[in-house]
């Protein structure tokens, strides 16, 4: 912090900076707050001044969105997809990152390079090839067993989400594991602990802060993701995640003008991430700079 003499020019500069900060704050807060306000308005109130305060608290919007627009089902699907994807990710990425960063073996260098290269593969390029892979596999399964498995299956969406975020997660965790001194393992081996026990009992507890960072980032990206789930869950009345359900509501809104329902749905998608953010905002912004950049 720099001490400057409190002159007139100094005060003016400060004022300009405050104005800039406040303008940006308003530009960010007002639209978000507006959605919360709109979510309790009645449909008729949307034809008129958008800045008018709601005439009453129309909670029915949330009930309608939850049941009629099936946002309740979608909410559950989103929770399942996110939770399963996080579980798969941790079970697969933690041991891999640990071994790749601390063990030398034939091919370890090639694997490390391979996962680094994976950082550059973006899911938007490969979502259609993955989809067609499932189309082909399901066609085969239908001929043999009479039912498909891969498409319209939330668990498969979790698997795809977890797999496509593996390179970044392994990169982030390896960075942390590589900083730990070798002494921990050596001491554990001397005490007679096996490789697996050492990893689970000694190393994983130490990696807790990085694991929390990984969970936070991936929770947000899984919860908010919509291209993969939109492509893989295409059955008309089948499972959907919240963002995809919301997208359908947005399209339906143009035809049916169910504004209240749509903004109630919007609030349902936002609230979990906002609550999480309020609880962990410090960790999130610090973790971001620890882990480097993310797409």
């Amino acid at each position: 912090m720099v001490d400057r003499k409190p002159t007139g020019g100094e005060a003016a500069a400060k004022a300009v900076m405050y104005v800039a900060l406040i303008v940006l704050t308003v530009l960010i807060v007002i639209p978000v707050a507006w959605v919360f306000m709109a979510s309790i308005k009645q449909n008729s109130e949307f034809y008129g001044n958008p800045w008018a305060l709601p005439q009453g608290v129309h909670i029915q919007n949330f009930v309608d969105a939850w049941t009629k627009a099936r946002m309740g089902d979608y909410f559950m699907t989103s929770i399942i997809v996110t939770a399963v994807a996080l579980a798969i990710l941790l079970v697969v990425a933690l041991p891999a990152a640990y071994v790749l960063s601390r063990y030398k073996f034939i091919g370890s260098k090639a694997l490390n390079t391979g996962f680094m290269a994976g950082l550059f593969i973006n899911v938007n390029y490969i979502v259609v090839p993955i989809f067609l892979m499932f189309v082909t596999a399901d066609k085969f399964l239908k001929e043999v067993f009479g039912a498909g498995f891969f498409l319209n299956n939330p668990f498969v969406v979790s698997l795809v989400l977890a797999s496509t975020t593996l390179p970044f997660t392994i990169y982030l965790l390896s960075g942390y594991f590589a900083t730990l001194p070798k002494d921990y393992e050596e001491a554990a081996y001397v005490d007679g602990a096996g490789y697996f026990t050492t990893m689970v009992r000694i190393i994983m507890p130490m990696a807790k802060p990085s694991i929390v960072t990984v969970i936070l980032f991936n929770f947000l990206s899984y919860w908010n993701e919509y291209i993969i789930s939109m492509t893989m869950l295409s059955e008309p009345d089948g499972a959907r995640t919240l963002p995809v359900g919301l997208l359908n509501l947005m399209k339906a809104q143009n035809a049916k003008a169910e504004y209240g329902q749509m903004y109630a749905g919007l609030v349902m998608v936002m609230v979990p991430t906002l609550i999480l953010y309020i609880c962990v905002q410090k960790k999130l912004t610090q973790g971001m700079t620890l882990g480097g950049l993310k797409g």
């Binding site: 912090m1 800039a20 704050t25 390029y125």
Partner: protein, 297 residues
Amino acid sequence: MQKNKARSRFIVACVAPAVILSFIFLVVPTFNVFRMSLYKWGGYSPNKQFVGFDNFVKLFNDAKFFQSVRNSILLIVIVTIITIGFALVFAAILSREKLKGQNFFRVIFYIPNILSVVVISAIFSAIYDSNYGMLNSFLSIFRGADAEPVYWLGDQKIVIYSIVGAMVWQAIGYYMVMYMASMSSISESLYESANLEGASRIRQFFSITIPLIWTNIRTTLTFFIISNINMSFLFVKAMTNGGPDGATEVFLSYMYKQAYTNSTYGYGMAIGVVVFSFSFALSAIVNAVTKRETLEF
């Protein structure tokens, strides 16, 4: 020997799941993008026909594709300059100045980054609505209540800039936090001596802050280009779906449309290959052009 065997088993057990999943869901699909770009295939039908580089030839005669190229480049250039510019200025204000509520501002500015692109698109659709939108209603204070509404998402000339607004809104906070972290590592004494010599704030910003975090700016710039190509797809898909009449079609939305909706799978993959190469080439060029000697005072 026994121990060696146990070690190998452990290594394989730990690495195999990650390798298998990455292979199935990253390596094979990426390989398929390149392979299928040489085929004519609808995606669902069983007959694939090898056509060599026909898809690429067709691509260079496709006016719609060039429209998407124009839109993508426009978005890359404008969104990058505005976002990084504002992010740097706000990061400098928040990390260098003694102001009240710094933490509050940082927390607020980061909020858009945690929201789903679908949510942001819905919010901006409400802002841009021509009849009952927030923006037109706000503008009518200056333009009078009877003024013809601006069709933010309906006018082909304006709509791409409406997308710019949403994208900048989403990204500023993220890059600001990024730059704040690197600015906080600049030694305080540099600014003190600059003050003694009477250098103004703006001078200090351009002569001390920017040069010293240049490496960081370069990295973010490279990533920003790649991420912009992806983000513009997410925004366009949710807000306009490329319309009206292709006015907001971008690289990946056009690819998705060709490959998924239009079932001209091979052609879509050819677009993917071109865009993929383009994004790498552009990053490499930006990386080379922005190369400076690393400054350390």
